[in-house]
Subunit: 338 residues, 2 copies
DNA sequence: AAATTTTGCAAAATCGTTTTAGAAGTGTAA
DNA sequence: TTACACTTCTAAAACGATTTTGCAAAATTT
C-alpha cells in the first residue's frame, strides 16, 4: 500500500501542495486560505488517512524534535526511572527521547554520540562514562545543546545536574554514627567518575569529622567489569577478613544488591551481625527484610531540571550559552537495616 | 557551527556530489571512479568531519532502518530486559529500536503507533494493550511488518511469539501439588489480554485435572488501575479471609512483589504459613528469603524469534506475507518459597 | 581514419515537506 | 481608465542525501 503524501492530497483536493501544507499546519488564516478550500483540504486529508512524514519535516525544518539520552545502563532501575521521567518531561515540550546505554564503555559512548548526531537529535542528555571527555567537548564546541546528568566532567564546559553526593553520604554516615556504628566498611566501584569519587570523599570526610582513623582495608573497590559472582565473593571476603565491621556502606544500588547476596550466603543477619546502607533506592531495599536504609536521589527533580536546562539551550537559538551547574539534595530513607 | 553536507565535500574536493556519494558508499569501483578522485574525496570527507544525515538518507531510500517497539511498561524488568535484548538483536541486522510504553492504555497505544508511523519506522514489535485490535489490524492491512509479542489478538492476522502460558502455569501447579499444597489461591489482574486469560485457564485446568473443586473466592482479579496500596490491601484481605490457603500463585511478577509486601505486613512466613509462586522472574525473587519460586520466560529466545520474524517481513519486499505463530516454553525455577 | 566502446564523471530527478515570492482576480479610489 | 490594494492561492526553491541518465574524452576496434 502506497503511502499518501501531501502532493496526493493536493491533487485530490485540486489545490497546490503549499496550500495543503498551510491548512494542515493551521496557517490557513495567516495565509488567507478561504474557508471553502480549508474545509475541502481537511476533509480530503482525513478520508485519505494522511499523516505527515516526520523525516521530511525534520529535514526541511532542521529540527527533529528529538533528544538523545545516553545513560550508563538502562537496565538499572535508577537509570530506567530517570529515562522514563525524562521522557515524560520532554513530552511536555513536544520532544521525543531516544535512549541508549554506554555500559560505561567510552568507545560505545562515542558510537552512540555519533549515531545520535547522524539522526539529527536536537540535544543531548548524557551520563558520561570515563574517557568520554573528548567526544563531549566536541559536541559543546559544535554548539550542540548538551546537559550532563548524574556526573560531570571537570575538563568540559557543559551544564550539568547532579546530586550532592558527598553531603548525602555524610548524612548517611551521621545516621550510622548516631546509631552507634563505628566500624563502617565502604563498598564502591573502580570507576573514574566524579560522583563515585565524591561519595568516597563523603565517607572519608565523615570519618575524619568523627575522629575515626581511616582504614583502607575496609574500603573495597570492585572492578566494574567483574562478573556478579566475583563481586559477591569479594564482598564476602571483606566481611570474613574484617569481623570487626558492624556496618557496610554501598556506593550504588547494584552494589548493595550484590552485598545482600553476600551477607545472605554468609548467613549473617541484618542489622544484628551487620548494618547496611546503600546509595540509590531500589524496590528490593524497600522489601527485603528488615528493609534496607538507603539514600534516595530525587530522580524526578533531576529529570525535570535537566530537561529544562536542555530546552533552554535548544529553543534559544542565539548563542547565549551559559553553563549551569545544578546540585540537588538526596534524601535519607531510614529502614530496619540500621 | 554549520553542519557539513555532501555538497560541501563535493565542492571542496572539486567533484560532483554524486561522485562523493558513490565514493562514500563504497560504490567507487562499480561506478568507475578513479583511485585519484576516490582518495581525494575520502581525505576531504575525513578532515572535514563529515557524517551523513540519516534523515535525508531515509527520506530518499524509504528505509529508516528503525524498528518501533511498543511494550506495556518499560519500567518492568520483564519488558526492560525484553527491550534490551531486542535492541541488541536488531543491531545485528543493522537496525535501531525506539521503544515506548502503553501503560496498557489503548488510546496511548494508538498515539504511539501513529507517532512511529510518522517517524517512518520500518517495522513494529508490539505487546498489544486491550482494545488495540483496530489500530493493529490497520497496520497489517497497510502491509506494514508487524510482530506481536507476549500476547496476541485473536481477531488480528498478525505474526506473534509468546510463551506457552497455560502449560507453564500447569507445570507450576503440578509442582505445588507435588509439594503437597492443595488450597492454592490465584492472584491475577483484571485485564483482557490473552496471556493473562491463558494463565488463569492453566490454573483452572490444573485444578480440575487434580480433582480439586474450583473455589472462585480464592481467585483474585486486581484492577489494573489500582494503586499500589489498594492492591496490597486486596491481597492481604484475600489471605485474611481465607485462612485455609496454603499457597498463592501470582500471574505476573509485579503482582508477586505486591504479594510479598502483603504477606510481609501480615507477618506471615514463607513457605511455612504460605507458599508462593509467581509468573515471570525478578531480581527480588532470587534474593528475597527464602527465594521465590517462579516461572521464567525465555526472554532472549522471545526477542530473537520476534526480531527474526520481523526482519523476514522487512527484508522480503515481495508481499509474501505468511502469518507465523510461535510458542516458546517457559521454565520453572524452584526456590525456597515452595 | 572512422566507428565503436569504454571510462570517468557531472547533471538532474527524486523522496515529502516548508516557505518565500509572486501571480491572478477583484474591488476601490483617483 | 488607470493605479493600487486586497484576497486567494500557486510555483518553485530548499533541506541532504541516492540513483538514473547523459555525455565528452579516451581507448579500442574495424
Amino acid at each position: 500500500m502506497k503511502k499518501v503524501s501531501i502532493k496526493d492530497i493536493a491533487q485530490m483536493a485540486g489545490v497546490a501542495s503549499s496550500t495543503v501544507s498551510f491548512v494542515l499546519n493551521g496557517k490557513a488564516r495567516k495565509m488567507r486560505i478561504s474557508e471553502t478550500v480549508e474545509k475541502r483540504v481537511l476533509e480530503v486529508a482525513r478520508t485519505a488517512g494522511y499523516y505527515p512524514n516526520q523525516l521530511a519535516i525534520s529535514l526541511r525544518t532542521g529540527k527533529s524534535k528529538t533528544l538523545g539520552l545516553i545513560v550508563e545502563n538502562i537496565g538499572n532501575i535508577f537509570f530506567a526511572t530517570l529515562a522514563k521521567t525524562i521522557e515524560e518531561e520532554a513530552e511536555q515540550y513536544g520532544y521525543r527521547v531516544v535512549y541508549c546505554s554506554t555500559e560505561n564503555n567510552a568507545s560505545k559512548g562515542k558510537e552512540l554520540i555519533s549515531m545520535l548526531s547522524q539522526r539529527q537529535v536536537d540535544g543531548y542528555l548524557i551520563t558520561p562514562a570515563p574517557h568520554m571527555e573528548e567526544d563531549i567537548q566536541q559536541l559543546v564546541q559544535l554548539q550542540r545543546p548538551v546537559v550532563l546528568i548524574d556526573r560531570y566532567l571537570p575538563a568540559v564546559e557543559a551544564s550539568h545536574v547532579l546530586v550532592n553526593n558527598a553531603e548525602a553520604v555524610n548524612q548517611g554516615m551521621s545516621h550510622l554514627f548516631a546509631q552507634g556504628y563505628r566500624e563502617i566498611g565502604f563498598v564502591t566501584v573502580d570507576l573514574d567518575v566524579i560522583q563515585i569519587e565524591q561519595r568516597l570523599d563523603g565517607y572519608i570526610g565523615a570519618l575524619s569529622r568523627e575522629g575515626i582513623r581511616l582504614n583502607k582495608d575496609i574500603i573495597l573497590k570492585i572492578p566494574y567489569t567483574h562478573q556478579r559472582e566475583d563481586a559477591i565473593e569479594l564482598i564476602a571476603s571483606l566481611l570474613k577478613n574484617n569481623p570487626q565491621l558492624d556496618a557496610l556502606f554501598f556506593a550504588t544500588n547494584y552494589l548493595g544488591i550484590l552485598g545482600l547476596e553476600s551477607i545472605n550466603r554468609l548467613k549473617m543477619s541484618i542489622p544484628d551481625d551487620i548494618a547496611v546502607i546503600s546509595f540509590d533506592d531500589h524496590d528490593i531495599f524497600r522489601l527485603y527484610p528488615p528493609g534496607i536504609t538507603s539514600i534516595q536521589q530525587p530522580v524526578e527533580a533531576i529529570a525535570k531540571k535537566a530537561v529544562a536546562l536542555l530546552m533552554d539551550q535548544c529553543e534559544n537559538t542565539e548563542i547565549k550559552f551559559d553553563k549551569r551547574e545544578v546540585e540537588l539534595t538526596a534524601k535519607l530513607i531510614v529502614r530496619g537495616s540500621t
